[in-house]
Structure formats: C-alpha cells, structure tokens
C-alpha cells in the first residue's frame, strides 16, 4: 500500500501502439478529440485556481477595487507586519495550534483503535452493524452538527445538563465557556468522523497476510499479542502516511465548524486564523490584510508538511515522497 501511495505508478501493461514512426505531433493529431474534451476543465483550472493564485499578490499591495489587482500600489510587507504586531496574533496562533494538536492527539488514534476492534469482532453481522452506525454521523452537515451541540449542551434544556442536574451538579454553559471550546470541538469531531476515518485502516487490515497469524498461532501467540506484533505493524505504513497528512494540516483548522461554534463569549479560545481572515476580509473588506494572513497560514502549513514528512522518512522509512 505504501508503495502505491508514494507515487510509483500502477502496473500498466505495455500495450502501447506504435504505428510506424510517430512524428512529434502525431499523438496530438490522433487524439485531438481527447484534448478537446479536456480543454474546458483545463480552462476552469486556469480561471478558478490559478487566477486566484495570481491574486495572492494583493497581500503585498494596498488593494483598491477600482484599480484592480495589477494597478494597486505595492506595499511590501506592511500587512504581514501589522498581523505579527496585532493584539490578536498570539491568541490566533495559540488557538489554531492548540485545536490542531488536540485534534491530532485525540482524533487521530481513535479511528485506528476502532478499526482494530472492528477487525477483531468475529461476528460478521455485528461488524456490519457497528460500521453502518459509526459511519452515519459523517453525513451530517457541519451546520447540523454545531446545531446539535448547541441543543444538547444548552444550560436550560440540553440533555447533558439535565443529566448533570440529575446527579446534583450545577449546569454548565458549555457553549459560552471559553475553557470548554476546544474539548467540545475535538470530541464532537471524533464522534462524527471516527467511523468514517476507520474505513481506510480496515482496508489496510484486510490486506494483512493471514499466514502471519497462522504462524503466530502455532507459536502460541494470543490475540492481543498478534494484534500488537502483526496487525499494528501491518497497518503502520498507512498510519504514518495519514499522520503526515494530518500533522501537516494542523494549522489549517477547518473554518466552518469553528465559525459556527464561535460566539462573543468564547472568542478568547475559539478565534482561529481562518475565522480571523473571514472577519477581516469578507465581513470587514480589508482584502489585502486578510489575504496576507491567509498566505502566512498557507506558507506555514506547507513548511510543516515538508518537515513532518522529512522526520517520518528518517524515523520510519515511510513518507509521502
């Protein structure tokens, strides 16, 4: 599995057609209709992916809508400096990094654990049942998920607080309490995506050679030992690849859910870079400044991805590239 993930092409039968000596333009002429087919999509990518990349330059300019992207005057690193010096800077870094790390620590191991357990359950029907149920929340929209959190955690009517009251505790206003924000964010994320994320590990587990188990059983290994020494190493390449991808994304904490869970009272712990960009850019129309903030975030994310990948290659000999 690792071998295919790191980019080496799949085995392709070499049934290349060689009609005489093809000229340089021969393949293009022969398959002109394929190029025609692909053209609209390529145009789409140029316009909607590459033009915004070109638009990134407004991070270094004082963008004025009437002058356009090219016509606006250069500003150097002013916007970046303003961001680094701003009152919010450390709060944003702390929250973005905090949520990202917390999620990595809790949200990442859970699907692995779940997959290992599902794989061990002998009863097929039970296994299917567990899978069907745990995959389901993945399909709830972010709005609904955040809405459910507000409903369930409401201090007056939410069932969580009803439960706390039942045991004589005082209701907690979870959604407005800054101290709870990150925990709620991470746990609800685990609740929603744990099952779905386990699919890929289950696929990897299905690929573990049964002969290894056979041999281990003959040697008297118990089930826990076999999980530890056979299954876990068997899916290690998958784990490492996903760990790299997840670690690289630490700073790109999803905008939607944070934004939906955010309110004036929990801002201290819920304000992340993405919501800051939205507030300043879309709501506040400070296009250059917020583009600069977004660019900073993207750059750090990219550097982290490369760094984590390099570490993984050193330690584990599995990497993305």
């Amino acid at each position: 599995m690792a071998a295919t993930l790191d980019g080496s092409d799949n085995p392709e039968k070499s049934s290349e057609r060689k009609p005489g000596r093809p000229g340089k333009w021969k393949p293009f002429r022969k398959n002109w209709d394929l190029y025609l087919m692909a053209a609209p999509v390529l145009a789409y990518f140029v316009i909607f992916e590459y033009v915004p990349l070109y638009g990134l330059q407004i991070a270094f300019k004082n963008f004025v809508a009437s002058k356009g992207i090219w016509g606006s005057s250069w500003a150097g690193f002013v916007h970046f400096e303003r961001f680094f010096d701003s009152y919010h800077f450390w709060r944003l870094i702390r929250n973005t990094l905090g949520i990202g790390l917390y999620e990595l620590a809790v949200g990442f191991p859970l699907p692995i654990l779940l997959a290992l357990m599902i794989h061990e359950a002998r009863n097929r029907l039970f296994r299917r049942f567990v899978q069907t149920i745990t995959y389901a929340p993945h399909f709830l929209s972010t709005v609904v998920l955040a809405g459910l959190l507000f409903i369930f955690l409401s201090p007056q009517t939410g069932f969580v607080n009803q439960f706390i009251r039942l045991f004589g505790g005082d209701p907690v206003s979870f959604m407005t309490e800054p101290g709870w924000f990150k925990t709620i964010y991470v746990l609800s994320g685990a609740w929603q995506h744990m099952g779905w994320s386990s699919i890929i590990y289950l696929a990897a587990l299905a690929g573990v050679d049964p002969q290894l188990h056979e041999a281990a059983r003959v040697d008297g290994a118990g089930r826990i030992q076999r999980i530890w020494h056979i299954n876990l190493p068997g899916i290690m390449p998958t784990i490492v690849i996903l760990l790299i991808l997840n670690a690289g994304r630490i700073l790109s904490v999803g905008f939607e859910k944070v934004f939906l869970m955010q309110n004036q009272l929990n801002m201290e712990t819920s304000d992340v870079i993405a919501t800051h960009v939205y507030r300043m850019g879309i709501a506040g129309a400070q296009y250059s400044y917020s583009t600069a903030v977004g660019l900073f975030n993207a750059a750090v994310t990219f550097v982290m991805l490369i760094a984590v990948n390099a570490i993984a290659r050193k330690v584990n000999e599995t990497s993305l590239w």
């Binding site: 990518f45 992916e49 609904v144 809405g147």
Partner: protein
C-alpha cells in the same frame, strides 16, 4: 482451534466496547428523532430520554408551514442537482483522457491539477474573482468554484485505468470509433459503480454545503437550506442564552425548541433514507481513492 482464557476475555471486551461505541454514536441521533415527535414542553422539562413523550406531529406541521425552510429546501434541491450534474460532467471529461496511456502530456496535466491541491489562492482572492464575474447571489457562485475535485478526478481516472480493459478501447479505435464514442458507448456503461460513487460524494457535498453560500449569498430568497438551519439552530440558540422570564417568550421558545429537532430530521431526510442502500458505494469510493491514490 483452541482459545485461551485470555482470548475469551478479550473477545468479550471487544464486543462490549464496540457496543458502547455504537451507543454513544447512536444515542444523540435517536434522541433527536424522539424529541421531534414529542411535545416541546416535555423536552424543555427534560422528560424525553429515549422514546417520544406525548407523541405529536406538531413540530413537523410547523416545519412545513415555515416559508424559509420550504424555500431553502427547494433552493438546495436545485443547487444540488445542477451542481452535481456539472461536477460529473467536468470530472468525467478530464478523468477519461488522463486515463489513456496514449494521451500525451497527461503527466503534465495531472501535475498542473494536483498543484492546486497544495497551493490555492485562498478565501479572499477567490471571493474577489467570483465577485468580479458578477456571480454573487447567483447559483453559479455555489456550483462553479470547486466544480472539479482533483481528488475525485484521481479516483475516477484510477477506476478507468484498472477496471476497463484498454484492449477493448484499442480495438474499437482500430474499427474507426472516435474517442468520444468510445467514452460514451464503451467506457461509461462499464463505469456505473464509479459514477454512483461520484454522484454520491458530490451531491452530499452540495446538500451539506454552507460556506460558499455564507460568503457569496446575501439575498435571503436564494439561501440554501443550511443557512436557514444555521439561523434556527444556532443564531436562535444564542438569543436564548439571554435568560427570558416573560411568559409569552417562554411559550415561543417552547415552540422553537420542538421545531429544532424536526428541522434537523427533515434536513437530513434525503441522506438518511438513502444512506443504508448507498453505504457500500461510499465505502468503495474511499477504498479506490486510498489504495490507488
């Protein structure tokens, strides 16, 4: 095959913890469904735990009387259908050429597309572009940006390469069949599973989409369902946080409370109904992407 005592305990442990996991996942969902059929006053008092208390369809009646929700529902259906159609068309017409070994330049083109997975202009430049095209407050702002997912293109390309014998296409070509006809007559009919997967991935994405509508839509008449859901479920909840003592307000709150559960059920109904049938396709999609990416 002898099992040791430890293994038997282990077996029990697996079943117990998996059952617990299922319980944790399923309880909130069951609660929502039960609450949506219960009398709102019982929800507020905390009498609803598992089954509906004082069964009533009032909340659903209110949902279907709510103009915003109906309007949003209709908009979302239109956005989902149009958006998914565009997604499928564009994904197919790029994935197919890329799947052909005799398509010169396919590596360059793949690189050109994959590059955008790692580097993108981000929120603001994209917003400015959409605004400059005059797409704000139109359906196009919701269906054009993100019309092609590179990831899905890779999945589809892989499927074409691995599941449809190149030899068939080759012989058709020798018989003078054009590439477009090969795609329509040979490749697509053999690709129903992957088309199903793509339809599902894209349409669930559109159904649940919220972000693009949030930044591109200001005209309430064109809001998708998710934006109205946000108002009902989240913004309303925030005003509830302010303690209310007034009698009429309490009554109003009670009705809204019932409405919330019903609206969640109604909003997820299409996905919920289809989910059990389509689950295997979803899983298949993840597998193709994971193993061959």
């Amino acid at each position: 095959m002898g099992q040791t005592r430890a293994d038997k305990w282990f077996e029990a442990f697996i079943y117990v913890s998996l059952s617990l996991t299922v319980l944790i996942v399923v309880y909130p969902l069951v609660f929502v469904i039960s609450a949506s059929f219960s009398d709102p006053s019982h929800i507020m008092k905390g009498n609803v735990w598992l089954w509906p208390v004082e069964f009533t369809l009032d909340s659903y009646t209110k949902v279907f009387q709510n103009k915003n929700i109906l309007n949003g529902y209709l908009n979302t259906i239109v956005y989902t259908v149009v958006g998914t159609a565009i997604n499928l068309l564009l994904t197919t017409i790029i994935a197919y050429p890329l799947s052909r070994k005799d398509f010169a330049g396919r590596n360059v083109i793949t690189g050109f597309m994959v590059f955008t997975m790692f580097f993108s202009g981000g929120m603001i430049p994209t917003y400015l572009l959409v605004r400059d095209f005059g797409m704000l407050n139109t359906i196009w702002a919701l269906v054009i940006p993100g019309a092609v997912s590179v990831w899905n293109v890779v999945i589809m390309r892989t499927f074409f390469q691995s599941s449809i014998p190149y030899e068939i296409q080759e012989s058709a070509q020798i018989d003078g069949c054009s590439n477009i006809r090969i795609l329509l007559r040979i490749v697509l009919p053999l690709s129903m599973p992957i088309l199903a997967v793509m339809t599902l991935f894209y349409s669930v994405g559109h159904w649940n989409a919220f972000f693009n509508a949030l930044i591109y839509m200001t005209d309430r008449g064109r809001f998708p369902l998710q934006l109205f859901l946000r108002e009902i479920l989240i913004q309303h909840e925030m005003t509830d946080m302010v303690q209310v003592q007034d009698e009429s307000l309490v009554k109003h709150m009670m009705q809204v409370e019932g409405l919330k559960y019903a609206v969640v059920v109604v909003a997820n109904l299409p996905v919920l109904l289809l989910y059990p049938f389509l689950q295997k396709y979803f899983v298949k999609g993840v597998m193709v992407g994971a193993l061959k990416g």
